[in-house]
Every structure is written in structure tokens, then in C-alpha cells.
């Protein structure tokens, strides 16, 4: 975000200058208040039509809202502990987090079948610690965190899934000497630092992710990606900035060239090359060099420091948003293929062919200032966010016959400084149209004053018809980057974990099965929880014991959650109906510590409590101060 802010300052003068093309006008408007209220009002007890899964940026989480109401429904903890659901406290999620307490979620991707959302999984990246997570949309829980991915640093251009979820494709924003841990001074940045693309294989049955292969690239900052369909189904495109290979003050040093690059990468060819044993093992991963695998990777120039690179729904066009240019560039994938066949190049970067820009570009559509990211609808329109201009442009995806400025049909101001936009199924083969959400980086006091840390705003825009109509504004949890807007009927999550599916050997379903087992130095308990008690409700251990608690929520009724909070020991887990969670810790502090149900369950919820008693190691009585510490 800082980078964008700086850009805004840099381009402030530019933003104030009058620009060509439609400025709002008849096709974009604020809806009549009553009409907008009616179109966004979802009666109490009624359901929204769409799920919005939006990334929470450096909060590390994914948030779920309903559209058109824009109501926040749930938070899916991914890369950061979340006491509200006990995430990061039990042994399983703790192990998954791997000691990290934050992540930077940018680009969620719903799994696809034939290029359309299939509603099975949601993949999300961690830009900070080079990880990738899979949320299962059957239970809206994080089931796997992959990484830190070897060799890669700054997992920004991620996660983008292929047409049938064969791979999630991810790319590094920060180049480093590889493997990670290697030292090289920044003076050798251009040669010794490497960018990395990774092919993350997705198991089609389980969704399990594994790093399959990587491609070593020049040290450009890889930014955003899109995967192809049909004619382009084997390809992924990544935008980049810093083709200058600069270090230092990048806002200047990486903004010197008029054009940076979009990389066109044939992931299928990469997979085949890796399977054939090409490349070499670095950091435990097979790493391919583009010059050794001809036809795997091409560069296409794109103005200037681009952000978005997005495939049209039919896979024919790639729209590049050069964020320091006043237009988007449209490339024809057919022409790209011809150029590769004709070897129509103008040079190379470390042996990667650079294709002739003019041979592939079919339009430069003057959408406005600071184009970042493009989405599509079902009526043949594209939508591009304009960061500098704080607006969204609507433009026709062709015909590309030289009348580029005539393609822009509407523009709507947003508040303020929009980053990503998301349209319903807006990056799939069959977009759903109707709604677009502008995820704005700044809200600048449009809300009740909450002090200096101001929220991000997201605005709901009706895109049906020829124009755009502003409908609603909500304050989305920080900090939304990209999102997925999905038809609600595609998802059918469970409401309880069926008892029959609980294969945890420590699960118990009757109070009479509750048990405390003692071995030297270890106390292990199977705990039963149900409205409104725990069995056992007293657990006594010796100071210094390793304590392992397996708590089962024996309920099978929806929304009957129980928590297990242990005061003074920094433990809180929440068990959904039918779920068993395990907590492991050492009873270091002597004394008596209450545990209780933290997730309100019933009229007797307050009574749902017990005592964890730690007998002091020494025979002498415990000093009163010792028991009080550590809370």
C-alpha cells in the first residue's frame, strides 16, 4: 500500500489534469437512494445471492461477506491465530502455522473445472512468508499451509489456478540469491538474484498441494497473474515491474523504462520438462532455466510498471494494466502464438525471447489514469480499476479495429484509490455479471471517525445494463486486495461434522468414556463436552507434567459450538459440533486454574466450567505470587 500511496503523490499533478474519454456522465451514477436501498436490502432471515471471499492482506485472514448486502458473515483464519475460533491454539492448526503469527493474503482463487468456479477449494497466498494455503469450502476451514516455498521470496503473484485446477501458479515479488540463505550483495542484484515461478501441483481428489517445479527468472518483481482458457489453456501470464533490475529506491529506480514485461509461460511445457529431468535441484525443488527449455517462456513488453494481467473470459485476449500509463494494453493470444512461431523477437533477457510488442498488441484502450486490474462480465464488457483516478472504467472488449477510445463506455468515481476490483465470476470462463466491488485502499473520513487508523472501504456497483450504478459502501476488514465473488448456489457447506466421519482415535461420545491417563511425566485426558458441562470437570496434574487434552464436542446440532479456555495458560480452542481438538502444553505453573466454555452455548453456559489443578513439584506450599503470574 505504501508503494501505491507514493505513486499517488507522484502522479497527483497528472491526476488533476483533464483526461480524455468519458468522465462519469449519463452512464454512471449514484443510484436513487431508495432504489439502491431496495436492491441491496436483504431482509432479516433472507440470504444473499453471492459469497464474497476477500483477502485480508496483512491481517493474514480471509473474510466472507454476502452480496448484495455486503454484510460480513464470517472470518476464515488462515495465516494468523484467531482466538474466536480457537485457530492456532490446538496442535493441528499450530503445526500448520509453523510458528508464524502473521501472513499477507492477497489473491484468493476458487478452484476451477473447465475454467469455471467449482466451489471446492479456495487457495490463498501469503506474500510475506512465501506460503500458500488451501481452504476447503465444505467446512470453510484452512486445511493446508504449504511453505515457505523453497527459493521463492515474496509470494505475491499468487495464487492463480489453471483451467481444471491442475496447478496453482505462484511467483515471487522479491528476488533473492537462491537457495534461500545464500548471501550476495545487492550490487550483484542483476545477476545473482533470481525471481521464481512455482508450479504447485494440486491433487484432484484431496486438494493437497505440493511444489512440483520452479522456473528461475531474471530478478524482476513479478506482480499479478492470470491463467488461460481454451486457446491459451496451457499458459499463464505474469506482469512485472523493475525490469530495470534496480535496487535502492525502487519508486524511482524501477520506473525508468517506458515498458516492463508480461511473461507468457507454458506451464504444461514446464511440467513436461521437469518430468523429463531437465533443470537442476535447488533447495530441494527441480528448477528449470528458460533458456534450457525453448518455448516455455516469452516476454512481451508492457507499459509501464504494470499491475494486472488478465485473460478475457474466452482466453483470447490478455489485458495489461500499466499502472503508470493512462491506458490498458490488449494483447491477442492468437497473435502471440503466431509471433512465437515466426520467432518475431526484438531481443532477450537472460536468454528469454522478448517478442515484438507491435506484433501482439491489438489495442491501447484509454481507460484513465493508473489502470491496475481488469475483470469481466457476461455482456462483453471489461472493467478496469484506476488507482490514480479513483475510478472504475467500463469498456467493450472489442472490436479492436483501431477505434480504441470509442470502446470506453462509462466511468464511475470510487472513494478512494481503488486497488483490485472483483466482478461476479469475473476471472472465470463464464462471468456472472450484475455486481462489481471496488476495493478501495483509502476511505479518508467517509465513515464515523474512528481515529487515525482509518478503514478500507469497498463499494458495490451495479454493472447490469450499459452503465454502472453505485449501490452501497461497506468497511471491509483490512486489507482487501483481490477477492472472489461466487454464486451462493455453487457452495453447499456442511453445518456439523458428522459423528460418523470423526476418525480421531481420541474422540469420545459419552461422558462415561471421559478418561484421564497418567504416565510418568505425562497426563493425557479425553474430555467430553456437551450442553452444558465438561467431563471430567477436574484435571489434576503435577507441576512440570506434559499435558495433552483431547476435547470432543459431542453435539450434532448446528451452531452448538463449545470452547475450552484455560485461564492463565494462554489456551483457547473452539470445537464445532462433532469435532475433536487436541491441546498440548506443559503445566509449568503450580496452582489452580479454571477452564470454561468460551463459546456461548446455552442457558447453562456460564456453569460450563471446571478446574485444572497443578500440584507444586516441591512439598512446600506454593507462594501466592507464583500462582498469579503469567496471565
Amino acid at each position: 500500500m505504501t508503494r501505491h500511496l507514493c505513486l499517488a503523490a507522484l502522479l497527483a499533478a497528472l491526476a488533476c489534469a483533464p483526461s480524455k474519454g468519458p468522465q462519469g456522465g449519463a452512464n454512471s451514477r449514484l443510484a436513487d437512494a431508495r432504489e439502491a436501498a431496495q436492491r441491496t436490502f436483504v431482509e432479516p432471515g433472507k440470504l444473499d445471492e453471492f459469497y464474497l471471499f476477500y483477502s485480508g492482506g496483512h491481517s493474514g485472514q480471509i473474510y466472507v461477506a454476502g452480496v448484495p448486502s455486503m454484510r460480513h458473515i464470517a472470518t476464515i483464519p488462515v495465516f494468523a491465530p484467531y482466538p474466536a475460533t480457537g485457530y492456532g491454539f490446538d496442535t493441528e492448526t499450530k503445526a500448520m502455522l509453523g510458528g508464524y503469527t502473521w501472513g499477507d493474503v492477497h489473491h484468493p482463487a476458487i478452484s476451477k473445472t473447465n475454467g469455471d468456479y467449482d466451489g471446492r477449494w479456495l487457495f490463498v497466498n501469503d506474500n510475506a512468508n512465501n506460503r500458500l494455503a488451501r481452504v476447503d469450502l465444505r467446512d470453510f476451514k484452512t486445511h493446508q499451509i504449504l511453505g515457505p516455498i523453497a527459493n521463492s521470496s515474496g509470494n505475491h503473484g499468487s495464487a492463480f489456478v489453471t483451467e481444471n485446477t491442475e496447478y496453482a501458479l505462484v511467483a515471487s515479488r522479491f528476488s533473492i540469491p537462491i537457495p534461500r540463505g545464500t548471501y550476495a550483495p545487492t550490487s550483484r542484484y542483476g545477476t545473482d538474484y533470481k525471481g521464481i515461478f512455482s508450479g504447485i501441483k494440486i491433487d484432484s481428489a484431496s486438494g493437497e498441494m505440493a511444489v512440483a517445479w520452479q522456473i528461475m527468472t531474471p530478478p524482476f518483481d513479478w506482480d499479478l497473474a492470470a491463467t488461460g482458457r481454451d486457446i491459451s489453456r496451457d499458459w499463464v501470464v505474469w506482469s512485472s515491474y523493475n525490469s530495470e533490475r534496480a535496487t535502492g529506491r525502487l519508486e524511482v529506480t524501477a520506473s525508468q523504462r517506458d515498458r516492463d514485461y508480461i511473461a507468457f509461460v507454458n506451464w504444461r511445457k514446464a511440467a513436461a520438462a521437469a518430468a523429463a529431468g531437465k533443470g537442476r535441484m535447488i533447495g530441494g525443488v527441480r528448477v528449470l532455466e528458460p533458456r534450457e527449455v525453448p518455448g516455455m517462456m516469452y516476454l512481451v513488453p508492457l507499459a509501464k510498471s504494470p499491475h494486472g494481467a488478465d485473460f478475457s473470459p474466452d482466453g483470447r485476449y490478455v489485458v495489461g494494466g500499466g499502472k503508470l500509463a493512462p491506458y490498458v494494453t490488449v494483447f491477442d493470444f492468437q497473435k502471440f502464438l503466431s509471433a512465437t512461431t515466426a520467432n518475431d523477437t526484438t531481443g532477450n533477457e537472460d536468454g528469454i525471447p522478448v517478442l515484438r510488442f507491435e506484433a501482439i498488441r491489438v489495442a491501447e484502450v484509454p481507460v484513465g489514469l493508473g489502470p491496475l486490474h481488469t475483470q469481466f462480465d457476461d455482456q462483453g464488457y471489461a472493467y478496469t480499476s484506476l488507482f490514480v483516478e479513483s475510478a472504475v472504467a467500463k469498456w467493450k472488449l472489442g472490436p479492436f479495429d483501431g477505434h480504441d477510445s470509442a470502446l470506453v463506455v462509462a466511468k464511475i468515481p470510487v472513494h478512494f484509490s481503488v486497488g483490485h476490483i472483483v466482478a461476479a465470476h469475473g476471472d472465470a470462463r463464464h462471468p456472472a455479471g450484475r455486481y462489481l466491488i471496488s476495493m478501495n485502499k483509502l476511505s479518508k473520513g467517509r465513515h464515523l471517525n474512528v481515529g487515525p487508523s482509518q478503514p478500507e472501504s469497498s463499494q458495490l456497483i451495479d454493472i447490469s445494463g450499459d452503465g454502472m450504478t453505485m449501490l452501497y459502501e461497506a468497511y471491509t476488514e483490512p486489507e482487501p486486495h483481490f477477492a472472489q465473488l461466487v454464486r451462493a448456489d455453487l457452495l453447499n457447506p456442511i453445518e456439523v461434522y458428522p459423528k460418523a466421519e470423526n476418525r480421531n482415535p481420541n474422540a469420545i461420545w459419552a461422558a462415561s468414556d471421559a478418561k484421564i491417563t497418567r504416565r510418568p511425566g505425562i497426563v493425557e485426558a479425553k474430555i467430553y463436552s456437551i450442553r452444558s458441562y465438561f467431563a471430567p470437570n477436574e484435571i489434576e496434574v503435577q507441576q512440570g507434567d506434559s499435558v495433552i487434552l483431547h476435547v470432543t464436542n459431542a453435539e450434532q446440532e448446528r451452531d452448538m459450538l463449545h470452547g475450552f479456555g484455560l485461564a492463565g495458560y494462554n489456551i483457547n480452542v473452539v470445537m464445532d459440533p462433532g469435532e475433536t481438538k487436541t491441546i498440548a502444553f506443559r503445566a509449568t505453573k503450580p496452582g489452580v486454574y479454571p477452564f470454561y466454555c468460551t463459546n456461548f452455548c446455552s442457558a447453562m453456559h456460564q456453569e460450563m466450567q471446571g478446574y485444572f489443578l497443578v500440584k507444586p513439584r516441591a512439598a512446600t506450599p506454593v507462594a501466592s505470587s507464583a500462582a498469579g503470574g503469567g496471565n
Binding site: 456439523v496 458428522p498 450442553r531 453435539e555 450434532q556 446440532e557 447453562m604 456453569e607
Partner: protein, 204 residues
């Protein structure tokens, strides 16, 4: 003497068929609930459901509702409802089989008297079962644990119809299984009426 003659009258073939057909109802009845109890409250708009079969108790929502009902009941000290506690569920299937055999016997020996025996026994069995059910409801509602978290007056959950219990609207109605059993009884009754008319017309 007239009654004795009527009772020993051989059933018409149509009546035999009717008795056999009614026997099919006995076969089918155990497949459907005999009684259905449904509880609605503000926070249970879809209801908690309990279906009582000849041989089993089935909670709604894939069985979860039975546990749900027991959890709610435990607050007022009610015993947990378990199929194992229902002696009826052991003898009712057996008795239904017995009636099926008696029905076959009636169709074969085919005397009006057999039908009368069958109907009388079946009516007794039905009334006894209904009474047992009512007594069970009464027991569940009155034998409340003394140390229950919430103390309530003993009550009888509805055997038939609607009743408001605390925040719940409880509905109790016979299910398809009971209707089939009732139809079995009605078939026998219809056979008897038919045979009375035949007897009279033949006497005239």
C-alpha cells in the same frame, strides 16, 4: 342362534381378498412411523423431530434431533429417551407378525367368527399400545430428577395434538404406520359389515 350361524358363515371370496389385502398393511406399517412428535421454538424454526416406529426411535436431521431433544430435556431432569427403554419396540413387531398369521388363518378358514376374533384382539392390542404410549409420556414428564438444574412441575407431553411446553410448541400426531394399522382394523370392520348385509339378504 342367528349370531352363531352368522359367525360360522364362510366368507365370500371378496371378503377373503379384503382380509388378505388388509394383511399387506400389517406388513407395510413397520416401515413408517407410528407416531411423530415435533417441537418448534423460535430458535428451532425447522423443528426438532422424533419419529416412533414399531421397532425404533428415529430423530430428525439424520438422528441428531433425538440427542438434541435429550440435551434439552436433561435441563429439567427428564430421563434420556432411548429406544432400548421401549419394551413396546420389542413386542410390537412380534405382535404385528402374530396378527399377520391370524389374518392368513382367517383368509384360509374363512369364517366370520375368525374375523371377529381378529378385530377384537387387534382393537385390544391397539388400545393397549396407545395407553402404554400415553403412560410413557406421562412417566417421562413426571419422573423428573430431583436435582435438575431447572425445576418444573410434572407434566404430560401431548399424546395427540398440540401443547405449549415452556418455549416450545409440541405437536404429537400419528404417523403413516398408525394410519395403516387403523386401516387394517377398518378393513376388518368393513368385511364384517359386508358379511352382515350378505347374511341378511341371504336370510330374506
Amino acid at each position: 342362534m342367528t349370531l352363531a350361524r352368522w359367525l360360522s358363515q364362510v366368507l365370500s371370496s371378496r371378503a377373503r381378498l379384503a382380509v388378505l389385502g388388509a394383511g399387506v398393511l400389517l406388513l407395510l406399517a413397520p416401515l413408517f412411523p407410528l407416531w411423530k412428535i415435533t417441537m418448534f421454538a423460535n430458535q428451532f424454526p425447522e423443528g426438532l423431530r422424533l419419529s416412533i416406529y414399531a421397532h425404533q426411535l428415529v430423530g430428525g436431521n439424520g438422528g441428531a434431533d433425538l440427542q438434541g431433544i435429550n440435551i434439552l430435556n436433561h435441563y429439567i431432569g427428564m430421563r434420556e429417551i432411548h429406544a432400548a427403554d421401549f419394551v413396546e419396540m420389542k413386542f410390537i413387531p412380534f405382535v404385528l407378525g402374530l396378527f399377520l398369521l391370524l389374518g392368513l388363518r382367517t383368509a384360509v378358514f374363512a369364517r366370520v367368527g375368525n374375523v371377529v376374533d381378529l378385530l377384537v384382539l387387534f382393537t385390544y392390542f391397539s388400545l393397549f399400545s396407545l395407553g402404554a404410549f400415553a403412560y410413557r409420556m406421562h412417566s417421562y414428564g413426571h419422573q423428573l430428577s430431583a436435582d435438575a438444574p431447572i425445576k418444573v412441575e410434572g407434566f404430560t407431553p401431548p399424546v395427540f395434538g398440540h401443547q405449549r411446553i415452556a418455549n416450545f410448541d409440541v405437536y404429537s400426531y400419528p404417523g403413516l404406520g398408525s394410519l395403516m394399522l387403523a386401516l387394517f382394523g377398518l378393513c376388518l370392520l368393513a368385511v364384517l359389515l359386508f358379511e352382515v348385509r350378505r347374511f341378511r339378504s341371504e336370510a330374506a
